[in-house]
Symmetry: C2
């Protein structure tokens, strides 16, 4: 951050969050402290506390930022077929988790362990990622993916996103024998496959 | 437990674990204490400490017992087609989680939150449940379920088990519009569907 640039507070807060996301990609979540950020940004701890509510408030704000970014970068792009859109989104998602692996694991552990703030951010991001398939896709897109917007259909699409997350973490832990392109292609194919499992009557 | 029955220590320990599993089905995991067990069993705390290593040792032993029971009751049964076996196992699994919902959630929260003992029991049970599909099924069974025993195939079957767990918890939280039979049928159909998503080249 150039030292003599004058920014309005909202813009500076954004910059500090981006810097936090960078620090988080490099290090362990537990080490993401206001002190580390102050040092990296070249400003005082006191000024940082002006922007964030202590270490935890800062960590939560950075997680929010990362979750929002994940939702944004995986948004469907026009001009592609539904399956190509899905494949591209999954590829971006895999890249993102690879680049933020430690943070992702720590975040998931916090959310899975019952930390209500972590859980809320996690649930919001996950709902955005999965509900988007129903709310942003028109009927033709849903049909092309073999999905139906029913309670069963929503449960299975949500389940598919759990499958994606689990498969990705298993692959990151042991990628032997599976190239990223193959992983992404099979995760994409799994969505219409799971959609078809809802069955003919629903 | 009849008060005057004399049992060898191993058998009595088993009974105490079964009693713990019953207490856990009725109440909250955090309340599963040596004191509560001693009271229910009509024996002294001191004697209980002879069998179990304090509250935590007792809780872990009960979780082990529940996990082993889940693996046992969902074992494939001879005389059924592979898909019928799978459907039966899933139905038993759903019944089990319904009967032990609070314990299941607390256990999952502990495992997801990074408690290493919980995580180990959880991983062992999950590995037993999913690897069984590959190790106990012959080639014809795997083929009937559309599965191949490759790194990609294992990642996807593991992912399918995450889908099942997630779908089940979502359904328990809001079962409206989905009958248990329909849930079980679609979760069973999802396995060969996901298996087919591995693709023709693997």
């Amino acid at each position: 951050m150039p030292p003599r640039t004058r920014l309005d507070p909202a813009r500076r807060r954004e910059q500090l969050l981006d810097l936090g996301a960078e620090l988080l990609a490099e290090g362990r979540f537990e080490e993401l402290s206001v002190e580390a950020l102050a040092e990296a940004a070249g400003i005082s701890r006191g000024l940082l506390y002006h922007y964030f509510d202590g270490k935890r408030g800062y960590q939560l704000a950075v997680l929010h930022r990362l979750a929002d970014r994940l939702v944004a970068i995986t948004a469907p792009q026009d001009g592609l077929s539904p399956l190509a859109q899905l494949t591209r989104s999954l590829d971006v998602y895999v890249d993102f988790v690879r680049a933020n692996h430690a943070a992702y694991l720590a975040f998931k552990r916090g959310a899975g362990g019952g930390d209500e703030d972590f859980q809320r951010i996690y649930d919001q991001a996950r709902a955005a990622l999965t509900d988007r398939i129903f709310t942003s896709g028109d009927a033709a897109t849903l049909a092309a993916l073999g999905l139906v917007d029913t309670p069963s259909g929503r449960i299975l699409v949500r389940g598919w996103s759990a499958l994606v997350e689990d498969a990705l973490l298993a692959w990151l832990a042991d990628p032997r024998g599976v190239a990223q392109d193959d992983l992404v292609a099979m995760l994409a194919r799994a969505l219409p496959a799971v959609g078809a499992a809802v069955g003919p009557t629903r």
